[in-house]
Subunit: 376 residues, 2 copies
C-alpha cells in the first residue's frame, strides 16, 4: 500500500492523495459507503461502481462473522469473492457492534464475550481472533480491536479503556505481523486512537498509535454524542501528532458539514451509515440542501431530485414520484434515496478534492456548509 | 394500434405478433410486469428496460386513483410522465382490487362503492368513472370495468354478474368513444370475457365481447382458484370465439407452465404478480427449475444464480450470496430476486416466440414445462 499526497491546502490541513491497494486506487479525501452485512443496503454492486463511484466500501466484522460466517466466506474466497465487489474493502474490528448490538457483553483483558443479537449464541472476540477473522474476510484494510467509549465517559474509565485498547493493539499487531492474507493480495492494519474527549488522553493515544508506524491510522470514539466543537478540537489535536504522510481515517463520521470540517483538519477517509439510513427514512442530502421527501410540499414537484448532482436516480426520477414511493411504502423509494445520498456523499468528497487542488478549499467549504444545512 | 400476426404454429393455436402503440412496439407473446402503484416493486425503471427488457408494464387503477391521486397524475402528464417509463402501459379497471382489498364494497348496477384500504375514505367506481380515471392515468391500453367472480361461484351469480359486466361494458365503450386521451397519444379499450367456469356463460360472454370489435380482448376471472384443467378448457373455448386477428390478453396468469399452455391456446399477453411477489419471498424461477433460495443447501453454492438465463443479476451474484441476503433480511435480496424472476419471465415468452417461429413450439413447451417444475 502506498499513500501519495498530491496537494496540500495553504489555508488548512486539507490535502489530496492517492492510496493504492491491490484492489485498486482510492483517491482521498474519500467517503466509504457502509456495507454492513456484505451489502450496501438497497444498492446493487454495479450501482456502487458506476453511479456512485465508490472507491472502497466497508464491511462489519461482527455481522459477517455471525452471518454468513467464516466458513462460507473462506470458501467464497473472502468477501470480494462472496459479494463480487472487486474494489477495496475495509472492515471494522467488530468492537463497536459488540458494544451496541449484542445482548450481553463482558469486557475483560483477554477480550469481549457477547451474545449474538441473532440467536443469542455466545462468542468471544479477542484481539488475535479479530485479526484472524479479518484475514478470513479478506479486507484490504483491517482495523485493530478497540473499545469505543461512550459519551459522556468519566476520566478514569476513559483512561483505563484507552490503556487496554493500546495493549490490545500490541496483540493485534503481533498476530497481524505473524500471519498472511489468504487470497493472494496484501492486507493492512490501521490502529485506532481513543481517549474520549480528554485532550491529554487523546494526545497520549495519538502518540502511542503514531509510534507503531502502521500503514494508516484511525480516529475512533467520536460522533458518539459529544458536541461538534469537541469533536473538531479532538481531531485537530490528534492530527497534529499522527504522521502527515499516512492516511487518516475518522471512523463513523458524519454529516456533510462534519466531513468538510474534518477534511480541513487533515482527515482523508470517512465512513458513516447516515446517507443510507437517512435515505431509508426519506431524508435526502442534495446539492441544494436537506429534503424530507415525505413532506406534502413535494407532492407536485415534478423537477428532478437533484439535477445539479447528475446521475441516473437524481435526474431520472422526480421529487413528486419519490415522495409517492415513500408514502406508498414502495421498496424503490429507499433504493432511489440511497443512490441519491451516496452519490451526493461521493460528489461532496470529489468536490472537496477539486477545491483543494484549485487552492480555494476553505472558501468553498464555508459556502457549501451553509448551503448544505438549508432545510428545503 | 395495429396488431400483426407474424407466425402461427401448425400444431397449436400459438402465434407470434407485434402490437404497435404510440409508445412503441410489443412483441407477442409477451409478459407484462405488474407495477401496482406506478413502480414494479424493487426494480428501477432502467432495469426494466435494459435488464428485463419489458415491452410494457401494468399499473393498477385502484392504487393509482387512491395514491398519488388523479390531480398529481394529471399534472405529471399521466403515469408515463410521473414514473418516467416511456414504453407502453396497460391499466386494469380497478375492479379486482376493489373486491380484494377494500374493506367494504357494495356492487350495484350503477357501480361499486368501497372504502379505501389506506384511510377508510369512501369512493365509487362506475364504468364511466373508471374510463375517465384511465384517461387521466394515460395508459396505452385501458381495461373495461368488470366484476371478477370468485371461485367457486354459483351459476345464478355468475350469470347475473356476467350480464352486468356486459351492461357495464356498453357504458365503458360509450364513455371511451366520446372522450379522448389527454396527452397527445392514442389509448385503446379492451373488454373482458367473464362467466366463471361455465362453458355456456363463457361462450355467451366471448360472443358478446367479440361483437364489440374492439382493438384487443381480454379473458378475466381465471386463476382465481379453479383447477388448471378448467382454466385451460375455458381459454380454449373462449379463444375459438374471440377474433384471431386481435390480441388476446389473459389477466393475472400465472405460473411459467400456465403461460406456456395458454400460449398454445392462442393467448398473446399475460400479467401476474407471481414473479415479483415470489421473489420477495426468496422463491426463484430459473432456467433449471424452482429454487427456494432460503434453503440451507444453497449456503455454499457459489455458482451464479442462473448462468443460462444471462444478464446482470443472474450471472453476477451467486446463490450463496443471495441466500445470505435473504437470511440477513437485506433489501438487496428482494431486488436481485425480482430481477431474476422478471428476467426469467421475459426470457420465457421470448423463447416461446422463437420456438413458434422455428416451428417446434409444442415439443419445446412440453420439455420446458417438465423442466421448469423441478424443485431444485
Amino acid at each position: 500500500m502506498t499513500f501519495t499526497i498530491e496537494q496540500t491546502d495553504p489555508q488548512s490541513q486539507a490535502r489530496t492523495g492517492t492510496l493504492t491497494t491491490d484492489h485498486g486506487a482510492i483517491q482521498t479525501p474519500i467517503f466509504m459507503p457502509v456495507g454492513t452485512a456484505g451489502t450496501v443496503k438497497a444498492v446493487h454492486q454495479r450501482e456502487l461502481e458506476t453511479d456512485i463511484n465508490a472507491h472502497i466500501i466497508l464491511g462489519n466484522t461482527y455481522h459477517l462473522y455471525l452471518r454468513p460466517g467464516l466458513d462460507v466466506l473462506r470458501q467464497a474466497g473472502g468477501l470480494h469473492g462472496f459479494n463480487g465487489w472487486q474494489r477495496p474493502i475495509l472492515t471494522d474490528s467488530g468492537g463497536y457492534q459488540v458494544y451496541s448490538l449484542s445482548n450481553t457483553r463482558k469486557i475483560k483483558e483477554e477480550g469481549v464475550t457477547f451474545k449474538s443479537h441473532i440467536d443469542g449464541s455466545k462468542h468471544t472476540f479477542t484481539p488475535e481472533g479479530v485479526m484472524d477473522i479479518q484475514r478470513t474476510i479478506g479486507a484490504d484494510i483491517m482495523m485493530a480491536f478497540d473499545e469505543c467509549t461512550p459519551y459522556p465517559c468519566d476520566y478514569a474509565y476513559a483512561k483505563a479503556s484507552m490503556d487496554m485498547t493500546h495493549r490490545w493493539l500490541d496483540r493485534c499487531i503481533r498476530r497481524f505481523d505473524e500471519t498472511e492474507g489468504h487470497y493472494g493480495y496484501q492486507q493492512y492494519l490501521f490502529p485506532i486512537v481513543q481517549g474520549s474527549t480528554y485532550p491529554d488522553l487523546r494526545r497520549q493515544s495519538a502518540e502511542t498509535i503514531a509510534s507503531k508506524e502502521r500503514t494508516g491510522n484511525a480516529i475512533g470514539g467520536l460522533a458518539v454524542g459529544e458536541p461538534a466543537e469537541d469533536m473538531y478540537k479532538t481531531i485537530d489535536l490528534v492530527n497534529e501528532i499522527l504522521p502527515r504522510d499516512k492516511p487518516r481515517y475518522l471512523m463513523g463520521v458524519g454529516t456533510p458539514a462534519n466531513i468538510l470540517e474534518a477534511i480541513a483538519l487533515g482527515v482523508d477517509m470517512f465512513d458513516c451509515v447516515m446517507p443510507t439510513r437517512n435515505a431509508r427514512h426519506g431524508l435526502l442530502f442534495t446539492t441544494a440542501g436537506i429534503i424530507n421527501i415525505k413532506n406534502e410540499k413535494w407532492s407536485r414537484d415534478f423537477s428532478p431530485i437533484d439535477a445539479t448532482l447528475g446521475g441516473y436516480a437524481s435526474t431520472f426520477y422526480s421529487k413528486a414520484y419519490l415522495r409517492h414511493l415513500f408514502k406508498a411504502d414502495e421498496l424503490l423509494g429507499g433504493q432511489i434515496a440511497s443512490l441519491q445520498n451516496l452519490t451526493f456523499y461521493l460528489w461532496l468528497v470529489r468536490q472537496a478534492r477539486a477545491h483543494i487542488a484549485a487552492g480555494d478549499f476553505v472558501a468553498w467549504k464555508n459556502e457549501m456548509t451553509t448551503r448544505l444545512m438549508v432545510r428545503m
